[in-house]
Symmetry: C2
Subunit: 252 residues, 2 copies
């Protein structure tokens, strides 16, 4: 069984250019050609088409960057979900009671994408994270909360397609251990990430469902040294309560 060649070679090349420009804004043709391993004429022709459709923009010094169409797409993307606005008051309430970083994520293509982030008001040590980045399901609190909602087929497919790569020495890389962990999450509704993604960071999260549909998850993240037993219980209670409120709100 050999994998067939993908269709749309220009499209793949264009994506390569876009990826490069996303990480390296304001680059001239030459740099883009070099980085994407294409000749100047080819790169130029693709860039001109990308310019035409608004995916990139070019300044007067002939440097290229991502274009305005991207923002328009992103906006529509959030519209589709429109979760951010809906959940904001509840997450803000959670924020008030637990002054730590709160994330909201949605499930897309077996990953969690951060779509909102609320920062602690008074804590000076904060997490560095950003809306737009993704987290694997197996090694984050939000991810495991979501995984726990998968049915057997979905879970089997997930495991098959995803190698359990360690990010820290605490990452769960054994599927039996992961099974056990998910079992626990199912019984309590609360998921934890004990430095599994990033050293010193502890997260407590829960999934968000709209009826039967898994939407995503939210979580509280904090440096582990701030996590006393009492505080942990307080967060768990607050997260559980927020989950109830959010799922109530999602039904309308």
């Amino acid at each position: 069984m050999e994998k067939s060649k993908p269709y749309g070679t220009v499209l793949l090349k264009a994506a390569k250019i876009m990826d490069y420009l996303a990480d390296n804004p304001n680059k001239p043709l030459q740099d883009i050609s070099r980085a994407t391993e294409m000749t100047n004429p080819t790169t130029l022709k693709i860039l001109e088409t990308l310019l035409l459709i608004g995916y990139v923009s070019r300044d007067k010094n002939k440097n290229y960057r991502l274009g305005s169409k991207i923002i328009r797409y992103a906006n529509q993307y959030f519209d589709q979900i429109d979760l951010v606005e809906l959940t904001l008051p509840y997450l803000e309430k959670l924020q008030k009671s637990i002054d730590e970083t709160i994330h909201l994520g949605v499930l897309v293509d077996n990953e969690i994408i951060y779509v909102n982030k609320l920062e602690p008001k008074y804590q000076t040590i904060r997490m560095s994270s950003k809306v737009g980045i993704t987290r694997p399901l197996y090694s984050s609190a939000m991810g495991k909360a979501v995984l726990a909602e998968f049915n057997e087929t979905e879970y089997a497919n997930y495991l098959e397609s995803t190698p359990l790569v360690p990010h820290t020495e605490h990452t769960i890389t054994n599927s039996l251990k992961l099974d056990a962990e998910l079992q626990k999450i199912r019984s309590t509704g609360i998921a934890f990430d004990d430095e599994e993604m990033e050293k010193d960071i502890y997260c407590i999260g829960a999934s968000l469902k709209k009826g039967d549909q898994i939407i995503g998850a939210f979580s509280v993240s904090l440096p582990k040294y701030r996590l006393t037993a009492d505080f942990k219980n307080q967060i768990i209670r607050a997260v559980a309560e927020t989950k109830d409120e959010l799922e109530q709100a999602l039904i309308h």
Copy 2:
């Protein structure tokens, strides 16, 4: 002089699909083919490549929507600018003194793109606008503020490439009138939009420059009936002050 065929037919088709999915999320192959006037096999092949590069995602019912890559791009895009975060405290302060809708926009490809929006806290009648949408330069307060900063060549190019299409009966469609208006803006630093974009909506804005570089603009928008002479002066003063603060902050 004939215009040459654009390179990358697949790319153009892919963009058509993306545009359609941006406006019509969760559509099956058939609908996409119909809307984009392509055959099923072609559409499918492009969708599969888009899937591969993360530009679209497909659910188990085989409905397609924009993919997570878009959010990642958008995030990088904002990083490039990183204006939103930087300006937020100042715009919030402006918000507090003038309880009306505040917009922040950046200049991209001779258009203003809204990148942030602050809603009035107490006013119940609000503007319907969204982050991500664009406004022409000639018919918005932010746009005219930016146009007033263009040099002669830039301005000439702009006029040549942009027809002054009326949006309301107040839109300036005469370039001499626009010249005069820009002259006034240059002398005061404040731009107005007197129902030129949308009936009943009045905006007061100013440009944002970082040294010599035109970044974008911000504005206060409100229903015209709330605009007394006194309130207008109050807004002008607040906008001028905010402009100073922001440009100070932009230098670092």
